[in-house]
């Protein structure tokens, strides 16, 4: 890391840590959402950006993680610190099943992506018929007392959730930075660039692809737990829907697949863009249903056409922090 990058990173860290001191409730909620998407995008990026395995079904892990922790809390009063372990175990079990079946049977590329969608959709409909979690009617956790912090049950004011997400996002960033420099990072990128060549060099591609899937699903399980306790309501139609998977992967793709900053930058750009479009259209009085998403789609189209590698690689060169 060069000096300029270190300074920029430090400034960003201080600004984010100080944000709840002066930001309004609205800005804080937007910032929390950005960090949530940045963290989850980072988790997806481990699988796709590092190891080259395209998952279009990450909503599966968000949903299973959320329902595991929320179910324990709702039925038995067991808090998220215990629930998060159940979430991680269940999500890695799903990840292991998908990874094992796909990699053993030699499924890759488009077929692998469709398999991940199929698992997510299958589970969504399953949860629609699961009474323990309320079925399609949803699962509701008692809304938090906004003025007191109950860390044991992860209930508290918005700033608490913001800091929790900040710690998670920073932790994921640090973990991914370390991984990229480790043996695993080099193996993954070798597999991503050319799997047959990696295998010929003696890399156990099955084992390392599995490692990427397991790590990615475990990380995404934690964002599911956060989701449950932050939003307090879960519906299979929303949490497992393919649009949630798409929401997760848009950030890293727009920001830059396989880069460390891409998921963070992409999440920030897309969230601010979506809110900005809403504000501008409201100011103009153009409030037709759907118009916001049409603009959003047009912007995505333009970005993907003119910045095929995402925003970050280009921006990094401009800032002089590219390697």
């Amino acid at each position: 890391v060069n000096r300029r990058a270190a300074i920029l990173l430090a400034v960003l860290g201080v600004a984010l840590a100080a944000l709840p001191g002066f930001a309004s409730a609205y800005v804080l909620s937007v910032a929390t959402l950005i960090l949530f998407l940045a963290y989850t995008g980072q988790a997806w990026n481990v699988m796709m950006g590092f190891a080259g395995q395209l998952s279009l079904g990450h909503s599966l892990y968000v949903g299973v993680g959320a329902y595991a922790a929320a179910g324990l809390f709702f039925h038995f009063g067991i808090g998220p610190w215990a629930g998060v372990w159940l979430a991680i175990v269940l999500c890695t079990a799903f990840g292991a099943a998908i990874g094992f079946l796909a990699f053993r049977f030699g499924i890759s590329g488009v077929y692998f992506a469709l398999l991940t969608i199929a698992f997510a959709e299958f589970t969504r409909i399953g949860f629609d018929h699961l009474d323990w979690t309320g079925g399609p009617g949803g699962l509701f956790i008692k809304v938090a007392q906004r003025d007191q912090i109950d860390l044991a049950n992860f209930r508290g004011p918005p700033a608490m959730y913001y800091y929790a997400m900040l710690v998670l996002a920073a932790g994921a960033f640090g973990l991914c930075a370390a991984l990229l420099r480790s043996r695993a990072g080099y193996y993954w990128r070798a597999i991503r660039e050319n799997e047959e060549a990696a295998q010929a060099l003696g890399i156990n591609t099955f084992r390392w692809k599995m490692a990427a899937v397991l790590l990615s699903s475990a990380m995404t399980a934690v964002s599911g737990v956060f989701f449950a306790f932050y939003y307090n309501n879960l519906f299979p139609e929303q949490i497992f829907h393919i649009s949630r998977s798409i929401e997760i992967i848009l950030g890293p793709i727009i920001g830059g697949v396989g880069t460390l900053f891409g998921p963070i930058l992409g999440a920030a750009v897309l969230t601010i863009l979506a809110d900005g479009i809403t504000e501008v259209l409201a100011a103009l009085g153009w409030e037709i249903p759907g118009i916001k998403q049409v603009f959003y789609g047009v912007v995505l189209l333009v970005v993907i056409m003119f910045l095929p590698h995402g925003i970050w690689p280009t921006l990094a060169r401009r800032l002089g922090v590219a390697k």
């Binding site: 395209l54 049977f105 469709l114 199929a118 047009v298």
Partner: protein, 290 residues
Amino acid sequence: MPIDLVANVVISGVLTGLVYGLMALGLSVIFGVVRVVNFAHGEMMTIAMYATVALFASPLKLDPFVALLPVAAVFFVFGYLLQASLINPFITRPEHSQFMLVLAIAIIMVNGLLMIFGPDARNVQVDYQLESFALGPILVDKARLYAAFTALAVSAGLFAFFKFARIGKAIRACADNYLGARVVGLDVKRYYAFTFGLGSACVAVAGCMMILLVDVTPALGPAYTLLAFVIVIVGGLGSMGGALLGGVLIGVSEALAGLFITPSAKSMFSFGLLILVLLFRPQGLLGRKS
């Protein structure tokens, strides 16, 4: 469960499945040649359904079986231009990049429909939707039967086109060997656009037929995209016969799941079937091993 009820449900599943099959055929043809997965396929289907609704409600009062001609023609041109302008620069890019591009197009389509038509369900009402043929204890809906015949006829036309027509053979050459096709002087870019147009025309006809069977809302687009994927993977991505077979299988399994379990669980069986096929015959039932 009385046997004639089951037979009725299976027959209606087969007929609906043929329309599904035509929709999936469009996706399969595009993937088989251009090697791009059209993630906006279901959205195009809903656009065709709305176009049929609009033509039916217009002063011309076009019957869906007449409307399919102009709708298919417009879709052919639209698909041709889409491939020639936006998608063609992406055919050498990685899959996630193609996915993003087509997804952005799909988002614009769904919400464009929402802006124009609103969120309420639309349909067409013609006399023959309420009539049926009786074969002993088995009742066959007229509209469903006509729709299935149309789907079969269009599919047969497409098979013949690829088998016998000069352009069809040229397109197959492009799909078989990109470099070889260029060496013998084929304008691959133009044939790719032509193929995308053909796939779009297939989904247009399927949409015109489907509006006779179900109501349409903008939100139906992504659901049809997923359905088309399931069908082509089950049948074999890139295999034309496989798309029809997959359509019929999914149509019947949906109908039976709706009868024996609960209609809301019907797509669970489709996705379960998809997972099994991916694991044990990843090239699909009629697909060739690559």
